[in-house]
Symmetry: C2
Subunit: 133 residues, 2 copies
């Protein structure tokens, strides 16, 4: 079935409200001392998307210094680096995820999905205890 | 086989290292704005155990003021209070969990168990990427 021109136009897509719904947040602490949470994962994904640490920092409104420190923290504490950088001007070189970096993102997102699913019923029960309105 | 007196004395029990193993931490944000994490849950459990907010604060090395604020944050943002307090001197009255308080603890701990289980394999995979030694 194809959409007919008589159908109402679809509502414009709304950005998801920033703090809506009952939400589970996760953070991972590895034995080696490294901590992996949503900020570092968003950064790795932005590096993959923008092709540079500076571009990723801009996309996330994060200073280049901060973005670089987060990447370095992962590079130092994992057996292999998560980001490889190409030579370039100060902060200007390109960057991409290594296979380890891609794997970290994939496992983190898999944990996020699996835990959200596992928490669903109890989270809804907690939500029903909330003050409404 | 029983221990012989020739065997070396067992090593004194060490407290578990505070940050050992690959660990998943969770936090819950409910639609109403209330945030529930390990600190508030430990506090509720300590109130149930000690029978007072001040006793729970002492057990967790937390000021009475801080413990009281955390309880108030939950009481204000849930439909029913989590702790009921009896009259007493300044900070001296007894306190106990309400059915809502018990339910919050139970659902939170259930989420913790279910998510740890759901994350297990991917968490181990991330752990194998850690720098060792």
């Amino acid at each position: 079935m194809t959409a007919s021109s008589n159908e109402p136009a679809p509502a414009p897509q709304q950005p998801a409200p920033a703090h809506k719904g009952n939400r589970l947040s996760i953070r991972i602490d590895l034995d080696s001392g490294v901590r992996i949470g949503p900020g570092k994962i968003l950064l790795l994904e932005a590096i993959a998307r923008t092709g540079s640490i500076s571009g990723a920092g801009r996309a996330l409104r994060m200073s280049y210094r901060r973005a670089w420190e987060l990447v370095e923290d992962l590079n130092r504490n994992l057996a292999n680096p998560v980001v490889s950088t190409a030579a370039g001007g100060s902060g200007g070189g390109g960057a991409s995820l290594t296979p380890t970096g891609e794997s970290v993102v994939r496992h983190y997102r898999a944990i996020e999905t699996a835990t959200a699913d596992a928490a669903k019923q109890h989270l809804a029960a907690l939500g029903r205890m909330s003050r409404t309105g």
